[in-house]
Symmetry: C2
Subunit: 221 residues, 2 copies
């Protein structure tokens, strides 16, 4: 039925389950051929109306990396303040590996997106969905290659846009830390740290109409 073998299909499911949002990295650099494969994987993503809204900035300059880290650190403190009673718990979490990771990318949305109306007339934010699919492709390719990735969204997008001299109308959406790791977390780090727990799939699937509790429990065992 499929042009993928049972073993290949199993490897895909294993990959989806093994991908982790990493914050601990070894500092070994990634070679440029590997990075090129990962970016090519991102560029194979679907996009609304084939608009391909994604852009990537490879941060090579160490001083620039330090400035990005400072922006994220500033937002980390502001997030803690906004969290209220969980602020101390949040501040104990490791939320990024920007300074130590082997390669740093920023993913963003290109400017001049208004001309793309196909699939976006009522939901212009579908361009962000396309970039997210590209990032997920990159993430999965990296994990298959034994490379970890962490998606950091703790920053003020306008400040990062200016720092990277991105044009008005473009928008950074992710700081992506990439690198080799000593081990992949066995479960999401926020689950291990007891920040949040995995929901049961049964609580997330409805039949025909929204209902509480959801109804697919009977068919998803």
């Amino acid at each position: 039925m499929s042009d993928f073998t049972r073993d290949e299909i199993d490897a895909v499911y294993r990959l989806l389950a093994a991908r982790r949002d990493m914050r601990h990295f070894l500092s070994d650099p990634l070679d440029s051929a590997l990075l090129g494969r990962l970016l090519a994987a991102a560029h194979l993503a679907p996009s609304v109306g084939l608009m391909q809204p994604w852009r990537f900035i490879h941060i090579c300059d160490r001083a620039l990396r330090t400035r990005i880290h400072a922006l994220v650190e500033q937002e980390r403190v502001r997030t803690a303040q906004a969290l209220g009673e969980r602020d101390q718990e949040f501040m104990r979490l490791k939320v990024e590996g920007i300074l130590e990771c082997g390669a740093l990318l920023v993913a963003g949305l290109a400017p001049d997106r208004d001309k793309h109306v196909f699939g976006r007339r009522t939901m212009p934010e579908m361009d962000l969905a396309s970039v997210a699919c590209a990032i997920q492709n990159l993430w999965l390719a990296a994990r298959a290659e034994g490379v970890g990735m962490g998606w950091v969204s703790l920053f003020e997008p306008e400040a990062l846009r200016e720092l990277l001299r991105m044009p008005i109308g473009s928008r950074p959406v992710a700081v992506l830390c990439l690198g080799y790791v000593s081990e992949f977390y066995p479960r999401p780090m926020l689950e291990i740290s007891a920040w949040a727990q995995r929901c049961s799939l049964k609580t997330l699937v409805h039949i025909d109409h929204w209902s509480e509790p959801p109804e697919l429990g009977a068919s998803l065992s």
Copy 2:
């Protein structure tokens, strides 16, 4: 280096390249175990602060499917009007397979997302990015299993929310057509139809700062 073999890594890249946004389907139904595997794959996606904002509605009622199709058809006409000079070209494209596909899902955002501040204080739209990653996981798992998927975003989200009795504050983001296909398009259908062309990856990657033209050309061959 990786816990995936060279053959498995190659299969992953082949999968990323073979995934297509499908609009032509056979009407054979998908069995519920397969659908459960695909939904479980979606639920393995990363999410900002582990908020898991995704919900899925499995449309089983044929009359409801017809009503969803009518909503999409209405938006298809409005999109053509908004497109101006490319309206006739757009109207000739097949943009969905809602009535004929083997299974129909609607993916959406759960309500009450404001309490999730982690990674969203400055960019609340990261919840949509998480749902998009879940949809991409589902898409890739489906393709590995030999099942096609099409993501339709031609609808008025408030109208679809009301039709599916989704609570205020929740939001549908994708109508997902799933099903077996007679063949997968060799290239994106919008490329085959000459609606749009693939950009070269070299035009999408910068080093350190945004520049036009981008600078990674030298290292990405």
